[in-house]
């Protein structure tokens, strides 16, 4: 049938709109500029404010004012120097413990045929839904001065406050983060290597030490680096369970909040920034190597494990899971018990929050987190899209800016915000919007990394197909790229939402008389001796996160997306 006949000729009269194409040329540069400015203003500028205050007399930026006096003061005060050694000590010990535990846990999930893997996997991810203070609260209820076990079962004077308490809390808090990395590594490494070695006569021990361990080495290092960073930058657990044992994060807070020494707070922030930045760079360096170790033809079929191996790993995984479950059970239970551990009558009275904020803090947290989730997931996807379309040099530049937030501890960023934006003309300061912005920037890295990997999975021809058919940038993005990234969008949303609901360190300096947040309320309540109410607030946060998680799972199942498992999020 000849096509040159009637109705089709009408098409010739519909060229692409020249105006739209003219406008389209400015879309990408405009968005690029926006993202760049966003990161400059809300990341580099606050960071600069900290540098300025710590290195310049009176925070006045001038060559003549340059001084190392703050650092001298820090390093000559025995109490503050101790914080550095304390931080390094708990971080290194936690790092070693977590890496060893998680390696075997991930090994059990990927290389053995034990039963109940789905259960173990969900349990190990649980700490993600709670603030990093939950562990300390629960441990105090068990092993504190009035702990169920220490004071009532064993009746010992010993209590968990101090380094031991911090380490145990941090271990239980860091597990899921390290797990995600090692699980990915171990499932990506070709299991046939092990089989080949075995078929050549290697003993199982030899296979493990010569093949399995070396092939996972970058994953192990990366998980260790992440654990170190999480621990050294964490604030919630040490502030509750540290007692007199000060670490860098608590010291920053004490200097700023109790002593109003912003300059020393800024100085300690720099000292905290150094190790976390170094570890971040190290991690960045090795994560580029990991890729080459991963075989595209990895085979998921695992040969049946021997009985002894199965029993051993099942017991091990059960113990770890028990530890995590115990934390949650204690916190939830503690929030309903009248007087822990004397009067076990169940009551709702701890849910009548005695603080001024109470439930309003919770609602603020929820709407702030929803906004953070939606805007954060969207902006990072757009940023990833823009980045992927830019020329290599510029791409590198935006990439560098985008991964920087991961290297900056939340507490440091928060302090930077106070120093940079505490001016009357920054209208968003002192409102929940600064919390929104802070949360988006602090978690920018993971959002953009997830965006990049999603976009790289989309065939570049698809975008070119749209363009060749007359599609402009905006319509190509909204009609094709965005729908195709939907699953990743949900996951990034969930990540932003969870982080925003549970973070303490990033926002502790940003709450005020008018802005209250649920996670910070936990600390306030605990500080004022309302420990059970602190547990109640913690329980509320966990519940809300779980509800959103469940809703999202239903939505993504309904819309035909892949299952939104917790494992895939982080």
């Amino acid at each position: 049938m000849p096509l040159n006949s009637s109705p089709s000729d009408a098409i010739e009269r519909y060229p692409v709109s020249p105006l739209r194409m003219e406008v389209d040329r400015f879309v990408l540069p405009a968005v690029t500029l926006f993202i760049t400015l966003l990161l400059f203003f809300f990341m580099l500028f606050p960071l600069f404010a900290i540098l300025k205050l710590s290195f310049f007399k009176g925070g006045e930026f001038a060559v003549a004012n340059f001084t190392l006096a703050n650092f001298q003061k820090y390093f000559t005060t025995a109490y503050t120097v101790r914080a550095l050694w304390h931080s390094l000590y708990v971080s290194i010990v936690t790092m070693i413990i977590v890496t060893v535990i998680i390696f075997f846990f991930a090994y059990a999930m990927t290389r053995t045929t034990i039963a109940g893997k789905g259960f173990f996997r969900n349990i190990i991810m649980m700490p993600l839904v709670a603030p990093s203070i939950t562990q300390a609260l629960a441990l105090i209820y068990l092993f504190g001065r009035n702990g169920l076990i220490t004071a009532h079962l064993i009746r010992t004077e010993w209590s968990i406050y101090g380094p031991i308490g911090i380490i145990i809390s941090e271990v239980l808090y860091c597990l899921p983060h390290a797990y995600v990395i090692l699980y990915t590594t171990l499932s990506a490494v070709d299991i046939r290597l092990d089989e080949a070695a075995e078929s050549l006569g290697a003993t199982p021990f030899k296979v493990f030490t010569r093949i399995t361990l070396p092939s996972a080495k970058y994953g192990i290092l990366s998980a260790a680096a992440l654990t170190f960073n999480l621990t050294i930058t964490d604030f919630g657990n040490p502030v509750v369970i540290g007692g007199d044992y000060n670490v860098l994060a608590t010291e920053i807070y004490a200097q700023v909040t109790n002593l109003y020494r912003f300059d020393l707070g800024a100085t300690i922030s720099i000292i905290l920034l150094v190790p976390s930045l170094m570890v971040f760079l190290f991690n960045y360096y090795i994560s580029r190597k990991t890729f080459s170790m991963i075989s595209g033809a990895a085979k998921p079929v695992i040969p049946p494990s021997r009985l002894l191996k199965k029993i051993g790993f099942t017991v091990f995984c059960s113990l770890i899971s028990f530890g995590i479950i115990l934390i949650f059970v204690i916190v939830v239970l503690g929030s309903f018990v009248k007087v822990w551990p004397y009067d076990w009558t169940l009551t709702f009275k701890h849910y009548h929050f005695p603080s001024i904020a109470g439930y309003s803090a919770l609602w603020t947290s929820v709407w702030v987190s929803l906004v953070v989730g939606i805007v954060g997931a969207f902006i990072t996807l757009v940023a990833a899209y823009v980045m992927e379309t830019r020329k290599p040099l510029f791409k590198q530049f935006i990439y560098l800016l985008s991964v920087m937030p991961a290297a900056i501890p939340g507490l440091v960023m928060g302090l930077g915000y106070v120093l940079a934006f505490n001016k009357s003309y920054y209208f968003f300061y002192g409102t929940p919007w600064i919390v929104v912005i802070n949360n988006i920037i602090c978690n920018f890295t993971l959002g953009i990394l997830s965006g990049i990997s999603t976009l790289r999975n989309i065939d570049p021809s698809i975008e070119e197909a749209s363009i060749s058919l007359g599609g402009d940038t905006l319509r190509t993005f909204f009609k094709i790229i965005f729908p195709l990234s939907r699953v990743a969008f949900f996951q990034t949303f969930l990540y932003f939402f969870m982080r925003s609901m549970t973070t303490i360190s990033a926002v502790i300096f940003l709450v005020s008389a008018t802005v209250h947040l649920a996670a910070i309320e936990i600390i306030m309540l605990d500080n004022d001796g309302w420990t059970a109410s602190a547990n109640a607030m913690c329980t509320c946060i966990i519940l809300i996160v779980l509800v959103v998680l469940g809703l999202l799972k239903i939505v993504s199942l309904k819309t035909g997306g892949r299952r939104t498992g917790l494992t895939a999020e982080v």
Partner: protein, 362 residues
């Protein structure tokens, strides 16, 4: 109607790498032109420069006499079919085909008519509301073809459109593409590394290597008169013999083949190419009347490759393995098998003579 497209001194450099080196070509309206070459020869780069997805380092592309170097892809109105189909997975067949029209704000009524027309053309009426993932590879590529045609493109460009498909479907879709092109009278530029595809489809074939055009001609010209040993080896199959010229003959080991039209001086090394089907298998008893005795060899069947209508037989000539095609009927009649003695004749005018040998292919 399509207008002519001209590539003028066109080059593409990636840093120090020269992907396309100063090529010139005029593509006629309604022509089916094929860029043929091994991977990395620059054929896709040329296609991408024509579509506007690749910046031009130097030179010009003209459509209908107008330089289009700086015109954005959206405004070029060229239809593109990608190797990976690149269908929009979140849209149905109809929505995919309608996409280009939607982008042009064509009234829905016109879109509906047009989409129906296109679906008829590509034989997918009744599949309107299916998603790409519910279609076979061949169907998907037909949708991609329909989607590109829906905007009435000035030129249709296809980048290895069939290489992801099974052999059978590939051959069937070839016919679909050829028929559509002829019916619509559209200029079609086709990129492939499959010489069979190029020969079967194109009006004109451009053979490329290392970013340059090595030969431009009809499939017949390319196949029958390959201008270099590279083309003789790349398009179809050739046996290569290297020897020194002695008068009107070429010495190869102990043999002295008579070869027509040698353009070389005595003693110079030349490379002879001869296609397996141009070597004649002689009957053992037949007299070599009128044949040049020095071009007859006696040898043994080493390997038998049954290809259907012909049997490709490997034999040794002075320690070099060579191929000859014998028709299946002939092969059976003579009861040939591995180890059989055969007599072969190399007609003097069946040789192509080259001064250089392109080795990389072997």
């Amino acid at each position: 109607m399509s207008k002519n497209l001209i590539l003028e001194n066109l080059s593409k450099h990636y840093g120090s790498l020269i992907a396309v080196n100063n090529v010139n070509l005029e593509i006629q309206p309604g022509e089916f032109l094929c860029f043929l070459g091994p991977s990395g020869c620059g054929k896709t780069t040329i296609l991408r420069m024509i579509t506007g997805f690749e910046e031009i380092t130097s030179g010009k592309i003209l459509y209908d006499g107008v330089v289009i170097n700086d015109i954005i892809p959206q405004k070029r109105e060229f239809g593109i079919v990608f190797q990976s189909y690149a269908l929009f997975p979140n849209m149905t067949v109809s929505q995919n085909v309608a996409f280009g029209l939607k982008m042009r704000k064509v009234p829905q009524k016109v879109i509906d008519t047009r989409v129906d027309e296109i679906l008829g053309l590509i034989g997918l009426r009744g599949w309107e509301s299916h998603y790409p993932s519910q279609l076979s590879g061949g169907q998907q590529q037909r949708v991609a073809l329909g989607r590109a045609l829906a905007i009435k493109p000035k030129i249709l460009l296809l980048d290895e459109p069939l290489s992801a498909l099974d052999a059978k479907i590939r051959i069937r879709l070839r016919t679909v593409i050829k028929r559509l092109q002829e019916e619509l009278g559209i200029t079609l530029i086709y990129v492939t590394h499959d010489q069979e595809e190029a020969l079967a489809l194109a009006d004109r074939v451009v053979v490329m290597r290392d970013g340059e055009f090595r030969q431009i001609g009809t499939p017949w010209e390319i196949y029958k008169k390959p201008q270099s040993s590279f083309i003789a080896g790349f398009v179809g199959i050739s046996n290569f013999i290297a020897g020194k010229k002695e008068n009107d003959r070429v010495r190869f080991g102990s043999r002295l083949f008579k070869v027509s039209g040698i353009d070389a001086v005595d003693g110079e090394t030349v490379h002879l190419a001869i296609r397996p089907e141009n070597i004649e298998a002689l009957l053992p008893e037949s007299l070599a009347d009128g044949l040049i005795p020095s071009n007859i060899i006696e040898t043994t069947v080493e390997v038998v490759n049954f290809l259907g209508s012909v049997v490709r037989v490997a034999f040794m000539l002075e320690d070099e393995e060579m191929l000859v095609d014998i028709s299946e009927k002939e092969f059976e009649r003579r009861n040939l098998k591995r180890g059989s003695k055969i007599r072969l004749y190399f007609p003097p005018d069946a040789f192509h003579v080259y001064k250089e040998l392109f080795r990389k292919l072997i």
